[in-house]
Amino acid sequence: MRDDVAMLLRRATFGPTASEVAAARRAGYAATVARLTSPAGPDRGAATAPVPDLGRDPFDDLPDPTVEQRAAAEATRRQHTDTIIRWWLDRLTVADHQATEKLLFFWHGHWATSIRKVGSPQFMLAQHQKMRAAPDVRAMARALVCDPALVYWLDGQLNTKDAPNENLARELMELFLLGIGNYTERDVKEAGRALTGWRTDLGVPATAIFFPEDHDARPKTILGATAAFDAFTLVGHLVNRPACARFIAARLWFRYGSSTEPIARSTEQRMVAAFPVGARMLRALLADDEFRSGRHRLVKQPVEWLVGALRQLGLRPAQLSGETLHQLTTGLGGLGQVPFAPQSVGGWPAGAAWLSSAAAQIRLGLADLLAGLAYAERGDDVDRMNPERLAEVLAVDTWTNRTYLALKRAGSARQLLTLGLVSPEYLVN
């Protein structure tokens, strides 16, 4: 019989360890859903990975840098970027409240903002903290509509009443809150006017700054309502639309349930009833029969694959050398998913996109690297590995004959581990 508790953990977390699977089996499915979505007490594991203090952005107060100053500031930014990526990967690995961390990673891909354009690691970290702190979708939308990283990413700082820029307005409707088909071009234009007047300052990562003289304070008609909308009343208006709850439910299903099959009506209804609290919507999804049936498969995203492997092999990013970490993040780049750098405002791809032969090549190299690290860490444990024990460590239900035969050909425990990590059974949940 398929193990629904193990599947639940694989979907809701970044890859369960064998002891986590065993504990969840004892607790049962419903209790595990409850524990995942409303964890008790502070996260002791996450507390060992405190948020880094980056200090000021090196470009702050450098309005006209010389070539040398620019080069030095860019080098500092690269270092800060490495710092926050390493920190986040570390936190994902050591956090006890795994479902909370995974949901936050979902939101990052949803409000996809990339450091590649934003430039400032301080901005990206401040945005991350805002998503982490927001209790529900409404609060998140309110915090992000004036978030410097998002504003800059979508050219909000260029949006003034004299020179409107619709970019942020369009993505608020299309990608963040409503979905295509639930608004018109005229709504986008009018919403753009509501968002005028915000500018960013590298010295103030906490918020974009409102300049009333650049704001268009006249009335706007948006989705049938006419008012002198501003950024906050606009997002409140959008979140109140029935389409918003359905859209967020569908996006969560796409990420946790299936990226190829649409959400079932009954699942959607349960999730919509839990809107706007993300963790409650997730709970409704995980508890839903359609999800629990095990009918749907998902491909692990590269970050899930890597962090899951780190957790299961007992490796911790904070303890890896700079060079090793660089190899891991370079590998993630090759696979197409680096934290803080979504591929586009549309977020990361899904499903078969992660299963190209190009990715297979890169994954083989990364798996070998991880297996080598695990072997260096605990050679004896690894040496005792056989296919059955490997399935338990990697929380794989069962190997197909194909993979079992491939594993049998491995000449060493390290190769066994490498093959397990790249096996189709491990890649597809």
Binding site: S357, T418, P424
Partner: protein, 416 residues
């Protein structure tokens, strides 16, 4: 899964979930080649095809197509400028970088068109943003679709209509509902102790497996198939030069351009239904000691492009192929303190192939009338892509260029 089912599945997974889901890649080369046998409705040798060559990193246009006769060029770049007697003269003002001998030969055969001073309004000097602009053809605001991707949408094209040989699908090929396919090439590198037999074993498909697991398994078979095809196609490139080996990178151009183009040639000659191929060469982000670095890269580009165009001329299908070569921006006119140049604006775009109207198109920007040290673009890049949409893909350009109405450029011969 049989090829048809697999293709349907690929399309289904591409269509699901809107913009976030569109980057579905992962078609195997063997599968791609097999589509040539599936599709007999179009006579192969009469299909026009486009090859888009992306140079990642911002190629220095002024040292590619050199304004050797302009004193301003020499005074702005005392250490970096090429002596007039070394450039390969194209006319009395411009010449090619000395390492571009193959392109010069094609130029003399009228198979190279050079569009001068290509850029876009309000230049952005971020590599990623600027490359996004070229690939999405949307200079004013970021959009989630590339111009080829929108053409795939507009023509309801199948996945293999546009193919990339880069490790990660470029935004160029991403549409709203459709997207191109990503085919991996490059010499196979296996971890120590893991042999191709084990990888092949992982690639065996099992009865009753989920479709996604089938695809995961298939990726390993594709990896081996592709490796052997690449070795046949270009043994030397795929196996001997460590610098050409695929490494994980976010900036593309990780696989030898010659190997990518050799595969394009194979696909064209095999009659695959692919209309657009996307290939790339990376590493142009040179800021110091630029001359040596750029010459190495331009040398590779020259060898890869000229042998590719020569090969195209040998088959009827090849003679319907047009190549376009661009980079995200040029460099500043003045050299920096470390014998390099910093990110700039306009640069030349090359158009090559048997159908091309050879010669210069557009106007060389002035080296003295500058915009804060940068060249002023004389041609909008969307005019170049517009001409290719019209004459190679036979599509209405403005429909796929965000409403931009391109100025006509006669890049292809009227009789081509």
């Amino acid at each position: 899964m049989d090829p048809l089912t697999r293709r349907r599945f690929l399309l289904a997974s591409t269509a699901a979930g809107g913009a976030a889901a569109v980057a579905a890649g992962g078609i195997g080369l063997a599968e791609l080649l097999s589509t040539a046998r599936d599709d007999r409705s179009t006579p192969d040798d009469r299909t026009d095809r486009l090859v888009v060559v992306t140079l990642y990193g911002g190629n220095d246009g002024l040292n590619t197509v050199v304004p050797y006769a302009d004193p301003a060029y020499h005074s702005a770049r005392p250490e970096l400028a090429y002596e007039p007697e070394r450039v390969l003269r194209l006319d009395d003002a411009l010449g090619l970088n000395p390492v571009l001998g193959g392109l010069k030969r094609l130029w003399d055969r009228k198979q190279v068109g050079i569009v001068l001073g290509v850029g876009y309004p309000r230049p952005d000097r971020s590599h990623f943003r600027s490359m996004d602009i070229w690939q999405t053809a949307s200079p004013a605001q970021p959009v989630a679709t590339g111009w080829v991707g929108r053409w795939l949408d507009g023509t309801d094209a199948s996945a293999e209509a546009a193919v990339s040989f880069e490790p990660v699908l470029p935004p160029l090929l991403v549409g709203e509902r459709r997207s191109g396919a990503c085919v991996a090439i490059g010499g196979l590198r296996l971890p120590p102790g893991v042999d191709s037999g084990m990888v092949a074993a992982l690639g065996e498909v099992q009865d009753g497996e989920s479709e996604l697991q089938v695809r995961a398994a298939q990726a390993y078979r594709d990896l081996l198939d592709v490796d052997s095809l690449v070795r046949q196609a270009d043994h030397r490139e795929a196996t001997t030069d460590p610098a050409d080996r695929p490494v994980a990178t976010a900036t593309g151009g990780a696989v030898s351009l010659a190997a990518q183009l050799a595969l394009v040639a194979r696909c064209v000659e095999a009659g695959v239904p692919t209309r657009v191929f996307s290939v790339s060469l990376g590493g142009f982000d040179t800021h110091a000691q630029e001359r040596v670095g750029q010459e190495t890269l331009l040398g590779r580009l020259d060898e890869a492009l000229s042998s590719f165009v020569d090969r195209l001329g040998r088959t009827a299908a090849g003679r319907r192929v047009t190549v376009v070569v661009y980079s995200e921006f040029g460099r500043r006119v003045r050299a920096n303190a470390s014998d390099g140049t910093d990110h700039g604006t306009a640069g030349p775009v090359f158009v090559l192939g048997p159908r091309v109207a050879g010669g210069f198109h557009g106007e060389q920007p002035s080296l003295t009338d500058l915009d804060a040290g940068d060249l002023k673009a004389t041609t909008d890049f969307r005019d170049v892509f517009g001409a290719l949409l019209a004459s190679v893909l036979h599509a209405e350009p403005s429909r796929y260029l965000g409403g931009h109405l391109p100025k006509p450029l006669s890049l292809l011969r009227a009789d081509g």
